[in-house]
Symmetry: C2
Subunit: 298 residues, 2 copies
């Protein structure tokens, strides 16, 4: 207990994948003294060089199996599509009693990929810290990324309560508000609040990319507020988002179908010059917006 009255939550944290989330977590763990040692793992030599240069971890390795040896918490912060391969690589190397968590945006897929390779005896507490910026890579992280945001944990039935409590406390001390819910429910909530908006944002920016050259040049020049908000969303990491859409296919397609019905209604109102319907829908949307502001998510 050299560090004072509050002991670190973990002895050794292994963070696999040192992008925006992984490197921000490492910074927060250091800052809040949440572990005695941090082991960083990244497959990219360039990323490892940055981690060393910025001294973000106590040890930096290239292989996940090596990284997890002796760790009492393993955090998978790789793109969602890499979860299965990482789980396979670390399965035989986990310390007894080690807790495994991840940070992916789609929880049913995470649970499936981790369980398949780690087996039913592994202690799994999948998580989703809902935080991010449009930047990626180990240099883009910062300890305050998580402050005031939500983190959703989706432990499968039977997970020891003590393990859930420890992961909850990790994120809480990073400044997050933490909730636990069913993985499938999480995925539907995120489909409409995050995944579908990103899909539309990517699409609308792509529609601009295909405009006639003179129109496109002026679109970029005069980009008004609505478009700038869209393009901000569309600047996010392409690999991460590809993986999200592939992993959360069903919920995204369901929410898109609902959205289509509503768009069709507004489009018909425009075509028919039906100002009453437009005004009614826009007024209702403004109310929802106010609920969100009141929920202090802005």
């Amino acid at each position: 207990m050299k560090r004072g009255k509050v002991p670190p939550l973990f002895d050794r944290i292994a963070i696999i994948g040192f992008g925006l989330i992984g490197s921000s977590l490492a910074r927060a763990v250091r800052k809040e003294k949440l572990a005695r040692r941090i082991v960083a793992c990244d497959a990219s030599a360039a990323a490892r060089a940055v981690i060393k240069k910025l001294r973000l971890a106590d040890r930096v390795v290239s292989g996940a199996a090596e990284a997890v040896a002796g760790a009492d918490l393993v955090v998978l912060a790789v793109p969602q599509s890499a979860n299965a391969a990482v789980a396979k690589a670390i399965a035989r190397h986990l310390a007894p009693g080690a807790i495994v968590t991840d940070v992916g945006s789609v929880k049913e897929a995470a649970l499936r990929d981790l369980t398949a390779h780690l087996g039913p005896a592994a202690i799994l507490v999948p998580g989703h810290p809902i935080a991010g910026t449009e930047n990626s890579g180990p240099a883009s992280g910062f300890a305050e990324l998580f402050a005031g945001r939500w983190c959703v944990l989706t432990p499968p039935p039977g997970t020891p309560a003590s393990a859930v409590a420890k992961v909850r406390e990790l994120w809480r001390r990073c400044g997050m508000r933490v909730e636990t819910m069913d993985a499938a429910h999480h995925d539907r909530v995120l489909a409409i609040t995050s995944h579908v908006p990103h899909l539309i944002a990517y699409t609308i920016v792509d529609t601009v990319a295909e405009l006639e050259a003179h129109l496109k040049a002026e679109v970029i020049k005069f980009a008004a507020s609505g478009f700038r908000d869209f393009t901000r969303v569309a600047a996010s990491d392409p690999v991460m988002w590809r993986d999200i859409f592939l992993a959360n296919k069903e919920a995204v397609l369901e929410m898109m179908a609902r959205l289509y019905e509503d768009i069709a209604l507004l489009q018909k109102a425009i075509r028919n010059g039906d100002g009453k319907t437009l005004h009614r829908v826009f007024t209702r949307s403004r109310r929802i917006r106010r609920s969100i502001v009141q929920a202090k998510q802005d």
Copy 2:
């Protein structure tokens, strides 16, 4: 020339409609000494009380005809659907040589509505200062609203160059970068950069409004970044946006049709697990985003 070496651009500016744009313009005109007198006109008694209380104008009236008497510049800053009625009301009261401009988001409709009632002899310089916030009303304005943003002027063929130059100088001194273009071209550019994004934002928020209660509550609670950006856009003034969609019907429906084709492509890629297509489109969108950042519109 009591105010120094640079004479005011105008002797008397009449601003009809004192919402966010009208009241911000009045503040900027005062601050930059762009006119000797400002006459404010608003149909709402509540708005007029705010204008008087905040001393935003030299004179405050309720009728447009009264407001324009003796003004050498008349600015229509009412919702787009009110342009025709205001034009009709002021037609016989304009001073000889008075310049008439507006601030609406749809320029073909503005030109049509103004010309119809003011006649071919009127000096029209329709304009669109591309600036705004999610707030409305005379108290929400501020002089710096226009700083660094674009203003597009769409004078019809035959407009005296001196009149265009004066309106250009008005917005330039409010801090805007000013361009002149054809009204129809303006409307297509704005359809894809502003109107369609707003339509989608309103729709997606409306889709949330119709979710099952427990899902809706959590959507509001966990609103992640993409959704918050969407809802910010959807908080804009419902009357203004109703009018925009009714006035720019053709361009909006055309751009929606293009957008649908692109959404269908991505949706099919998700359904088929086609990660290559998703990654290709997302990477292209990121490039466009970077063009916009480089164009300094963020």
